[in-house]
Symmetry: C2
Subunit: 121 residues, 2 copies
């Protein structure tokens, strides 16, 4: 059964999608940006660029980094970072539930059309 | 107010998102792949690659191309191509409506947290 992933657009600042949210979740789970980035097969620089993009979008930091710098010192999510994860997942669940019957109908329509397009294309 | 865009994943075949659906809509509007691609600031080859990806995902053609070749001959959407557009837009509307209150809550939470994260990160 097809599934949906969604992107929340905060134009012109940018957008958040499942990749950025999963990065936050991995950083929360492993307690550092470098460990979270490793889980995502992502460079530290790429991870930090994504975190800074989210910081800009929401106008406050996603992470509370310990003295000595994020790379050495570890990182915890701020209340804002935790809210972004929780709400994104809630939005994803609500959207998926609402989309499910339409996705099923699309799949059924496509199957029902076997043969209709004979010779086309 | 933030908005959402969504991607429907038909793994392992691929996914459809607003870019591919808008390409179908532009081809339907202008009656040829090359004109539709131009509207998307996309090369003909890129447009054709996306169409072929959708053909593979759904197991049948999105377009009915006239003799003489797609580039010269013009293209119309098949019933399957039309169904993909209509259902994707219905899925997008349903998902956006379901997500809207959660997006509003996220924005309110973020605003409410101004100051909480002072000095973090």
């Amino acid at each position: 059964m097809p599934s949906i992933t969604l992107r929340i657009r905060f134009e012109p600042q940018g957008h958040i999608g499942h990749g950025k949210v999963e990065l936050l979740e991995q950083i929360a789970a492993f307690g550092s940006i470098s460990a979270g980035a490793r889980q995502m097969n992502m460079s530290y620089k790429r991870a930090w660029d994504l975190i800074e993009e989210m910081n800009r979008i929401f106008g406050k930091p996603m992470l509370d980094t310990q003295k000595g710098g994020a790379r050495g010192g570890g990182a915890q999510l701020t209340p804002t970072g935790l809210a972004v994860i929780a709400r994104y997942r809630a939005i994803e669940r609500a959207a998926s539930a609402a989309a499910a019957p339409h996705i099923a109908a699309l799949v059924a329509e496509i199957d029902g059309k076997r043969g209709d397009d004979e010779g086309a294309g």
